[in-house]
Protein backbone atom coordinates (compact mmCIF):
# COMPACT_ATOMS: atom_id res chain seq x y z
CA UNK A 1 0.00 0.00 0.00
CA UNK A 2 1.28 3.44 -0.92
CA UNK A 3 2.35 5.11 2.34
CA UNK A 4 1.32 8.49 0.97
CA UNK A 5 -2.20 7.27 0.32
CA UNK A 6 -2.32 5.88 3.83
CA UNK A 7 -1.16 9.21 5.18
CA UNK A 8 -3.90 10.95 3.21
CA UNK A 9 -6.41 8.60 4.81
CA UNK A 10 -4.95 9.40 8.21
CA UNK A 11 -5.26 13.09 7.48
CA UNK A 12 -8.93 12.54 6.77
CA UNK A 13 -9.25 11.13 10.28
CA UNK A 14 -7.18 13.98 11.71
CA UNK A 15 -9.50 16.47 10.09
CA UNK A 16 -12.51 14.86 11.73
CA UNK A 17 -10.73 14.79 15.09
CA UNK A 18 -9.93 18.47 14.76
CA UNK A 19 -13.64 19.06 14.27
CA UNK A 20 -14.29 17.22 17.54
CA UNK A 21 -15.93 14.20 15.94
CA UNK A 22 -15.79 10.71 17.40
CA UNK A 23 -14.29 8.08 15.06
CA UNK A 24 -15.54 4.50 15.19
CA UNK A 25 -12.64 2.11 15.86
CA UNK A 26 -13.57 0.01 12.83
CA UNK A 27 -12.54 2.82 10.55
CA UNK A 28 -8.95 2.53 11.83
CA UNK A 29 -8.51 -1.13 11.13
CA UNK A 30 -6.58 -0.27 8.00
CA UNK A 31 -3.89 1.26 10.21
CA UNK A 32 -3.67 -1.64 12.62
CA UNK A 33 -3.51 -4.08 9.70
CA UNK A 34 -0.53 -2.27 8.20
CA UNK A 35 1.28 -2.85 11.52
CA UNK A 36 4.99 -3.30 11.25
CA UNK A 37 5.07 -2.37 7.56
CA UNK A 38 4.74 1.30 8.40
CA UNK A 39 7.92 3.29 7.61
CA UNK A 40 9.75 4.51 10.69
CA UNK A 41 9.11 8.19 10.09
CA UNK A 42 5.37 7.50 9.75
CA UNK A 43 5.13 5.58 13.02
CA UNK A 44 4.75 8.58 15.38
CA UNK A 45 1.85 9.86 13.29
CA UNK A 46 0.09 6.52 13.29
CA UNK A 47 0.49 6.02 17.04
CA UNK A 48 -0.55 9.54 17.86
CA UNK A 49 -3.66 9.16 15.72
CA UNK A 50 -4.63 5.82 17.26
CA UNK A 51 -4.13 7.23 20.76
CA UNK A 52 -6.12 10.37 19.98
CA UNK A 53 -9.00 8.35 18.54
CA UNK A 54 -9.00 6.09 21.57
CA UNK A 55 -9.07 9.04 23.94
CA UNK A 56 -11.76 10.75 21.92
CA UNK A 57 -13.96 7.66 22.06
CA UNK A 58 -13.38 6.75 25.69
CA UNK A 59 -12.81 10.10 27.38
CA UNK A 60 -15.30 12.32 29.16
CA UNK A 61 -16.75 15.39 27.50
CA UNK A 62 -14.11 17.59 29.15
CA UNK A 63 -11.34 15.28 27.95
CA UNK A 64 -12.75 15.36 24.42
CA UNK A 65 -12.88 19.16 24.45
CA UNK A 66 -9.35 19.44 25.81
CA UNK A 67 -8.08 16.88 23.30
CA UNK A 68 -9.70 18.75 20.41
CA UNK A 69 -8.14 21.98 21.62
CA UNK A 70 -4.73 20.34 22.05
CA UNK A 71 -4.82 18.86 18.55
CA UNK A 72 -5.82 22.23 17.12
CA UNK A 73 -2.98 23.82 19.08
CA UNK A 74 -0.37 21.37 17.80
CA UNK A 75 -1.57 21.31 14.20
CA UNK A 76 -1.79 25.12 14.10
CA UNK A 77 1.99 25.15 14.61
CA UNK A 78 2.58 23.10 11.48
CA UNK A 79 2.64 24.45 7.94
CA UNK A 80 2.17 28.10 7.09
CA UNK A 81 -0.70 30.28 6.02
CA UNK A 82 -0.02 33.17 3.67
CA UNK A 83 -3.52 34.65 3.58
CA UNK A 84 -5.09 34.68 7.02
CA UNK A 85 -7.94 36.94 5.90
CA UNK A 86 -9.64 33.89 4.41
CA UNK A 87 -10.27 32.52 7.91
CA UNK A 88 -13.20 33.89 9.83
CA UNK A 89 -13.33 33.39 13.64
CA UNK A 90 -16.73 31.73 13.33
CA UNK A 91 -15.30 28.98 11.12
CA UNK A 92 -12.60 28.12 13.68
CA UNK A 93 -15.14 26.62 16.07
CA UNK A 94 -15.91 23.91 13.56
CA UNK A 95 -12.69 24.17 11.58
CA UNK A 96 -10.55 21.37 10.25
CA UNK A 97 -7.06 21.03 8.87
CA UNK A 98 -7.37 23.80 6.30
CA UNK A 99 -8.49 26.30 8.87
CA UNK A 100 -5.89 25.54 11.55
CA UNK A 101 -2.71 24.74 9.67
CA UNK A 102 -0.21 27.57 10.01
CA UNK A 103 -2.35 29.67 12.35
CA UNK A 104 0.17 29.39 15.23
CA UNK A 105 -2.44 29.67 17.97
CA UNK A 106 -1.56 30.06 21.63
CA UNK A 107 -2.99 27.46 23.98
CA UNK A 108 -5.68 29.81 25.38
CA UNK A 109 -6.71 30.70 21.82
CA UNK A 110 -6.88 27.06 20.80
CA UNK A 111 -8.81 26.21 23.99
CA UNK A 112 -11.30 28.98 23.24
CA UNK A 113 -12.07 27.53 19.79
CA UNK A 114 -13.07 24.22 21.43
CA UNK A 115 -14.62 25.69 24.59
CA UNK A 116 -11.94 23.86 26.58
CA UNK A 117 -10.10 24.77 29.77
CA UNK A 118 -7.59 27.47 28.78
CA UNK A 119 -5.18 26.90 31.66
CA UNK A 120 -1.80 25.35 30.89
CA UNK A 121 -2.46 22.75 33.58
CA UNK A 122 -5.27 21.44 31.38
CA UNK A 123 -2.86 21.18 28.46
CA UNK A 124 -0.41 19.23 30.61
CA UNK A 125 -3.17 16.91 31.81
CA UNK A 126 -4.33 16.03 28.33
CA UNK A 127 -0.70 15.65 27.21
CA UNK A 128 -0.14 13.18 29.99
CA UNK A 129 -3.24 11.15 29.09
CA UNK A 130 -2.22 11.13 25.45
CA UNK A 131 1.31 10.12 26.32
CA UNK A 132 0.06 7.14 28.33
CA UNK A 133 -2.21 6.06 25.51
CA UNK A 134 0.56 6.50 22.93
CA UNK A 135 2.88 4.38 25.03
CA UNK A 136 0.29 1.65 25.26
CA UNK A 137 -0.42 1.74 21.54
CA UNK A 138 3.26 1.78 20.62
CA UNK A 139 4.08 -1.20 22.76
CA UNK A 140 0.99 -3.03 21.55
CA UNK A 141 1.68 -2.57 17.83
CA UNK A 142 5.46 -2.48 17.58
CA UNK A 143 6.31 -4.55 20.63
CA UNK A 144 9.10 -2.28 21.86
CA UNK A 145 9.25 0.65 24.30
CA UNK A 146 8.02 4.05 23.18
CA UNK A 147 10.83 6.13 21.60
CA UNK A 148 10.75 8.93 24.19
CA UNK A 149 11.18 6.29 26.91
CA UNK A 150 14.33 5.09 25.18
CA UNK A 151 15.95 8.54 25.26
CA UNK A 152 17.14 7.94 28.82
CA UNK A 153 16.83 10.95 31.07
CA UNK A 154 14.54 12.67 28.58
CA UNK A 155 11.83 14.88 29.97
CA UNK A 156 8.43 13.31 29.93
CA UNK A 157 5.10 14.86 30.73
CA UNK A 158 4.37 14.36 34.40
Amino acid sequence: MDPQLVREDRLTVWDRLLRGEEIPSQELRFLQSVGRDIPDDEKPGVILLLAAVELMNSGTAAVRRNLTAALRYWFSHTGSKTDKTLISPGRLKEGGLMEFLGLHLTWPEAARTAKADGSYAALKRIEKKLQEECKRQWESIFGNPAPWDLAGGGRNVS
Binding site: T12, V13, M98, L101, W148, A151, V157
Partner: protein, 278 residues
Protein backbone atom coordinates in the same frame (compact mmCIF):
# COMPACT_ATOMS: atom_id res chain seq x y z
CA UNK B 1 14.63 8.86 19.10
CA UNK B 2 12.81 11.72 20.83
CA UNK B 3 13.91 13.67 23.86
CA UNK B 4 10.38 13.84 25.24
CA UNK B 5 6.75 13.41 24.34
CA UNK B 6 6.40 17.01 23.14
CA UNK B 7 9.06 16.47 20.53
CA UNK B 8 7.32 13.26 19.55
CA UNK B 9 4.06 15.14 19.02
CA UNK B 10 5.76 17.91 17.06
CA UNK B 11 7.46 15.43 14.81
CA UNK B 12 4.28 13.44 14.30
CA UNK B 13 2.09 16.40 13.42
CA UNK B 14 4.67 18.01 11.14
CA UNK B 15 5.22 14.73 9.33
CA UNK B 16 1.50 14.13 8.96
CA UNK B 17 0.91 17.36 7.04
CA UNK B 18 4.02 17.17 4.86
CA UNK B 19 3.19 17.73 1.15
CA UNK B 20 2.13 14.74 -0.93
CA UNK B 21 2.65 14.45 -4.66
CA UNK B 22 -0.92 13.66 -5.68
CA UNK B 23 -1.81 12.04 -8.97
CA UNK B 24 -5.47 12.95 -8.92
CA UNK B 25 -7.00 16.25 -7.84
CA UNK B 26 -10.55 17.13 -6.85
CA UNK B 27 -12.54 18.98 -9.49
CA UNK B 28 -14.05 22.42 -9.12
CA UNK B 29 -17.55 21.09 -8.56
CA UNK B 30 -16.41 19.20 -5.47
CA UNK B 31 -14.79 22.33 -4.09
CA UNK B 32 -17.95 24.34 -4.75
CA UNK B 33 -20.03 21.66 -3.08
CA UNK B 34 -17.71 21.91 -0.06
CA UNK B 35 -18.15 25.67 0.10
CA UNK B 36 -21.91 25.29 -0.26
CA UNK B 37 -21.93 22.85 2.67
CA UNK B 38 -23.29 20.03 0.52
CA UNK B 39 -20.60 17.44 1.39
CA UNK B 40 -20.97 14.91 4.19
CA UNK B 41 -18.48 14.78 7.04
CA UNK B 42 -16.23 12.13 5.46
CA UNK B 43 -16.10 13.76 1.99
CA UNK B 44 -15.43 17.12 3.54
CA UNK B 45 -12.54 15.75 5.62
CA UNK B 46 -11.18 13.87 2.61
CA UNK B 47 -11.09 17.07 0.57
CA UNK B 48 -9.53 18.93 3.49
CA UNK B 49 -6.83 16.29 3.80
CA UNK B 50 -6.06 16.52 0.11
CA UNK B 51 -5.89 20.31 -0.02
CA UNK B 52 -3.78 20.44 3.15
CA UNK B 53 -1.05 18.36 1.49
CA UNK B 54 -1.36 19.54 -2.14
CA UNK B 55 0.20 22.88 -3.07
CA UNK B 56 -1.52 22.82 -6.48
CA UNK B 57 -4.98 22.50 -4.92
CA UNK B 58 -4.13 25.00 -2.21
CA UNK B 59 -3.52 27.55 -4.95
CA UNK B 60 -6.79 26.64 -6.70
CA UNK B 61 -8.65 26.77 -3.41
CA UNK B 62 -7.27 30.18 -2.57
CA UNK B 63 -8.25 31.53 -5.98
CA UNK B 64 -11.73 30.07 -5.66
CA UNK B 65 -12.32 31.51 -2.20
CA UNK B 66 -10.97 34.91 -3.23
CA UNK B 67 -13.21 35.00 -6.30
CA UNK B 68 -16.25 33.96 -4.28
CA UNK B 69 -15.53 36.60 -1.65
CA UNK B 70 -15.35 39.24 -4.37
CA UNK B 71 -18.62 38.01 -5.85
CA UNK B 72 -20.24 38.12 -2.43
CA UNK B 73 -19.01 41.67 -1.96
CA UNK B 74 -20.55 42.69 -5.30
CA UNK B 75 -23.82 40.96 -4.39
CA UNK B 76 -23.91 42.75 -1.05
CA UNK B 77 -23.54 46.10 -2.82
CA UNK B 78 -26.37 45.40 -5.24
CA UNK B 79 -29.86 46.02 -3.94
CA UNK B 80 -31.77 42.92 -2.92
CA UNK B 81 -34.67 41.86 -5.10
CA UNK B 82 -38.13 42.98 -4.08
CA UNK B 83 -39.47 40.33 -1.72
CA UNK B 84 -43.21 39.82 -1.78
CA UNK B 85 -42.93 37.75 1.37
CA UNK B 86 -41.74 40.82 3.26
CA UNK B 87 -44.73 42.93 2.30
CA UNK B 88 -48.04 42.50 4.06
CA UNK B 89 -50.55 40.17 2.44
CA UNK B 90 -52.58 42.06 -0.10
CA UNK B 91 -50.42 45.17 0.08
CA UNK B 92 -47.47 46.05 -2.07
CA UNK B 93 -44.70 47.88 -0.25
CA UNK B 94 -44.48 50.89 -2.55
CA UNK B 95 -41.74 52.56 -0.56
CA UNK B 96 -39.46 49.52 -0.84
CA UNK B 97 -40.19 49.26 -4.54
CA UNK B 98 -39.50 52.96 -5.04
CA UNK B 99 -36.19 52.81 -3.12
CA UNK B 100 -35.06 49.77 -5.03
CA UNK B 101 -36.01 51.42 -8.30
CA UNK B 102 -33.83 54.43 -7.47
CA UNK B 103 -30.97 52.22 -6.33
CA UNK B 104 -31.10 50.24 -9.54
CA UNK B 105 -31.17 53.41 -11.61
CA UNK B 106 -28.24 54.78 -9.66
CA UNK B 107 -26.17 51.60 -9.94
CA UNK B 108 -26.81 51.27 -13.66
CA UNK B 109 -25.70 54.77 -14.59
CA UNK B 110 -23.61 54.55 -17.77
CA UNK B 111 -20.80 56.76 -16.51
CA UNK B 112 -20.03 56.11 -12.85
CA UNK B 113 -17.56 59.01 -12.93
CA UNK B 114 -20.51 61.42 -13.23
CA UNK B 115 -22.16 60.14 -10.04
CA UNK B 116 -20.49 62.68 -7.70
CA UNK B 117 -21.35 65.53 -10.08
CA UNK B 118 -24.95 64.34 -10.29
CA UNK B 119 -25.14 64.04 -6.53
CA UNK B 120 -23.86 67.60 -6.14
CA UNK B 121 -26.23 68.94 -8.78
CA UNK B 122 -29.14 67.24 -7.07
CA UNK B 123 -28.14 68.64 -3.68
CA UNK B 124 -27.83 72.19 -5.12
CA UNK B 125 -31.24 71.94 -6.79
CA UNK B 126 -32.86 70.76 -3.59
CA UNK B 127 -31.16 73.62 -1.71
CA UNK B 128 -32.35 76.23 -4.22
CA UNK B 129 -35.89 74.85 -4.14
CA UNK B 130 -35.92 74.98 -0.35
CA UNK B 131 -34.58 78.56 -0.34
CA UNK B 132 -37.21 79.70 -2.85
CA UNK B 133 -39.95 78.04 -0.87
CA UNK B 134 -38.92 79.69 2.40
CA UNK B 135 -38.55 83.13 0.74
CA UNK B 136 -41.95 82.91 -0.94
CA UNK B 137 -43.57 81.85 2.31
CA UNK B 138 -42.03 84.85 4.15
CA UNK B 139 -43.01 87.36 1.41
CA UNK B 140 -46.57 86.10 1.21
CA UNK B 141 -46.91 86.12 4.99
CA UNK B 142 -45.63 89.74 5.19
CA UNK B 143 -47.99 90.85 2.41
CA UNK B 144 -50.91 89.18 4.09
CA UNK B 145 -50.28 90.77 7.49
CA UNK B 146 -49.74 94.22 5.92
CA UNK B 147 -52.98 93.94 3.98
CA UNK B 148 -54.78 92.87 7.15
CA UNK B 149 -53.45 95.84 9.09
CA UNK B 150 -54.38 98.27 6.31
CA UNK B 151 -57.88 96.84 6.14
CA UNK B 152 -58.28 97.18 9.93
CA UNK B 153 -57.07 100.77 9.88
CA UNK B 154 -59.37 101.61 7.00
CA UNK B 155 -62.31 100.17 8.90
CA UNK B 156 -61.44 102.15 12.04
CA UNK B 157 -61.11 105.37 10.06
CA UNK B 158 -64.47 104.76 8.40
CA UNK B 159 -66.07 104.15 11.83
CA UNK B 160 -64.58 107.36 13.20
CA UNK B 161 -65.80 109.33 10.21
CA UNK B 162 -69.30 107.99 10.71
CA UNK B 163 -69.24 108.86 14.43
CA UNK B 164 -67.99 112.37 13.75
CA UNK B 165 -70.56 112.88 11.01
CA UNK B 166 -73.31 111.88 13.44
CA UNK B 167 -71.97 114.35 16.06
CA UNK B 168 -71.15 111.59 18.54
CA UNK B 169 -68.25 111.95 20.87
CA UNK B 170 -65.36 109.68 20.45
CA UNK B 171 -64.92 106.85 22.85
CA UNK B 172 -63.72 108.07 26.22
CA UNK B 173 -61.22 105.30 26.34
CA UNK B 174 -59.41 107.13 23.59
CA UNK B 175 -60.04 110.74 24.61
CA UNK B 176 -59.10 111.15 28.24
CA UNK B 177 -55.78 109.33 28.29
CA UNK B 178 -54.73 111.47 25.33
CA UNK B 179 -54.54 114.57 27.56
CA UNK B 180 -50.98 115.36 28.53
CA UNK B 181 -50.10 116.25 32.15
CA UNK B 182 -49.16 119.79 31.02
CA UNK B 183 -52.63 120.25 29.56
CA UNK B 184 -54.25 119.04 32.76
CA UNK B 185 -52.14 121.55 34.76
CA UNK B 186 -53.10 124.32 32.33
CA UNK B 187 -56.77 123.45 32.67
CA UNK B 188 -56.37 123.28 36.43
CA UNK B 189 -55.11 126.86 36.43
CA UNK B 190 -58.16 128.02 34.50
CA UNK B 191 -60.65 126.05 36.60
CA UNK B 192 -59.38 127.32 39.96
CA UNK B 193 -60.38 130.87 38.93
CA UNK B 194 -64.02 129.90 39.34
CA UNK B 195 -65.75 128.86 42.53
CA UNK B 196 -69.09 127.95 40.98
CA UNK B 197 -69.06 124.23 40.05
CA UNK B 198 -71.30 124.80 37.09
CA UNK B 199 -68.96 127.40 35.69
CA UNK B 200 -66.04 125.04 36.32
CA UNK B 201 -67.82 122.34 34.37
CA UNK B 202 -68.45 124.77 31.58
CA UNK B 203 -64.78 125.71 31.43
CA UNK B 204 -63.72 122.05 31.37
CA UNK B 205 -66.18 121.19 28.63
CA UNK B 206 -65.06 124.20 26.62
CA UNK B 207 -61.40 123.27 27.16
CA UNK B 208 -61.99 119.77 25.89
CA UNK B 209 -64.11 120.96 23.00
CA UNK B 210 -61.33 123.26 21.86
CA UNK B 211 -59.17 120.15 21.52
CA UNK B 212 -61.82 118.32 19.55
CA UNK B 213 -62.80 116.12 22.49
CA UNK B 214 -66.56 115.95 22.80
CA UNK B 215 -67.61 114.73 26.21
CA UNK B 216 -71.05 116.33 26.20
CA UNK B 217 -72.65 113.27 24.71
CA UNK B 218 -71.77 111.19 27.75
CA UNK B 219 -71.71 113.67 30.60
CA UNK B 220 -74.56 115.90 31.70
CA UNK B 221 -72.82 119.04 32.92
CA UNK B 222 -76.04 120.60 34.08
CA UNK B 223 -76.62 117.99 36.78
CA UNK B 224 -73.86 117.96 39.32
CA UNK B 225 -74.13 115.31 42.02
CA UNK B 226 -72.73 115.97 45.47
CA UNK B 227 -70.68 113.21 47.04
CA UNK B 228 -68.96 112.97 50.44
CA UNK B 229 -65.57 111.39 50.02
CA UNK B 230 -65.06 108.18 52.00
CA UNK B 231 -61.70 106.81 53.16
CA UNK B 232 -60.04 104.70 50.46
CA UNK B 233 -61.77 106.38 47.54
CA UNK B 234 -59.65 107.70 44.66
CA UNK B 235 -60.38 109.93 41.70
CA UNK B 236 -60.34 106.82 39.56
CA UNK B 237 -62.71 104.82 41.74
CA UNK B 238 -65.15 107.76 41.86
CA UNK B 239 -64.98 108.12 38.05
CA UNK B 240 -65.65 104.44 37.68
CA UNK B 241 -68.61 104.60 40.06
CA UNK B 242 -70.30 107.71 38.66
CA UNK B 243 -69.09 108.03 35.09
CA UNK B 244 -68.75 104.37 34.25
CA UNK B 245 -65.02 104.36 33.54
CA UNK B 246 -61.92 105.19 35.58
CA UNK B 247 -60.34 106.92 32.61
CA UNK B 248 -62.63 109.96 33.13
CA UNK B 249 -61.01 110.72 36.51
CA UNK B 250 -59.51 114.08 35.30
CA UNK B 251 -63.05 115.48 34.89
CA UNK B 252 -63.88 114.94 38.60
CA UNK B 253 -60.44 116.03 39.64
CA UNK B 254 -60.61 119.30 37.66
CA UNK B 255 -64.05 120.09 39.01
CA UNK B 256 -63.00 119.72 42.65
CA UNK B 257 -59.27 120.14 43.04
CA UNK B 258 -57.81 123.31 44.47
CA UNK B 259 -54.12 122.95 45.19
CA UNK B 260 -53.71 119.17 45.18
CA UNK B 261 -51.49 117.62 42.52
CA UNK B 262 -53.14 115.18 40.05
CA UNK B 263 -51.68 112.15 41.86
CA UNK B 264 -53.24 113.11 45.23
CA UNK B 265 -56.26 111.47 46.79
CA UNK B 266 -59.60 113.27 47.09
CA UNK B 267 -60.02 115.00 50.52
CA UNK B 268 -61.71 112.56 52.88
CA UNK B 269 -64.93 113.78 54.51
CA UNK B 270 -65.41 116.68 52.13
CA UNK B 271 -68.25 117.05 49.65
CA UNK B 272 -67.23 117.06 46.01
CA UNK B 273 -69.32 117.52 42.87
CA UNK B 274 -69.48 115.02 40.06
CA UNK B 275 -71.31 115.46 36.73
CA UNK B 276 -74.07 113.00 36.13
CA UNK B 277 -73.92 110.51 33.34
CA UNK B 278 -76.62 110.53 30.76
Amino acid sequence: MFRDFEEFVKHATAREVAPIRHVYHPDLELMLAYLAGDLNSYARSKLNAHIATCSHCQHRWKQLVTTLNKEMEVLRRLSPAFALARSRPGRVCLRSWYENWWKRKWETLTFPAFRPALAWAGAVMVGVALGLGITMALVLRTNYSTANRLATLTREIEDLKVQLALGHSLSTDIIVPSLAPEEISQLMAQVTEFSDPWLKALVIANFLNLRGLYLTWEIDWRQLIEHRVQPGETWQSLAETYLGTATLWPVIYLLNAREEPPDSLPPVGEIIVIPARK
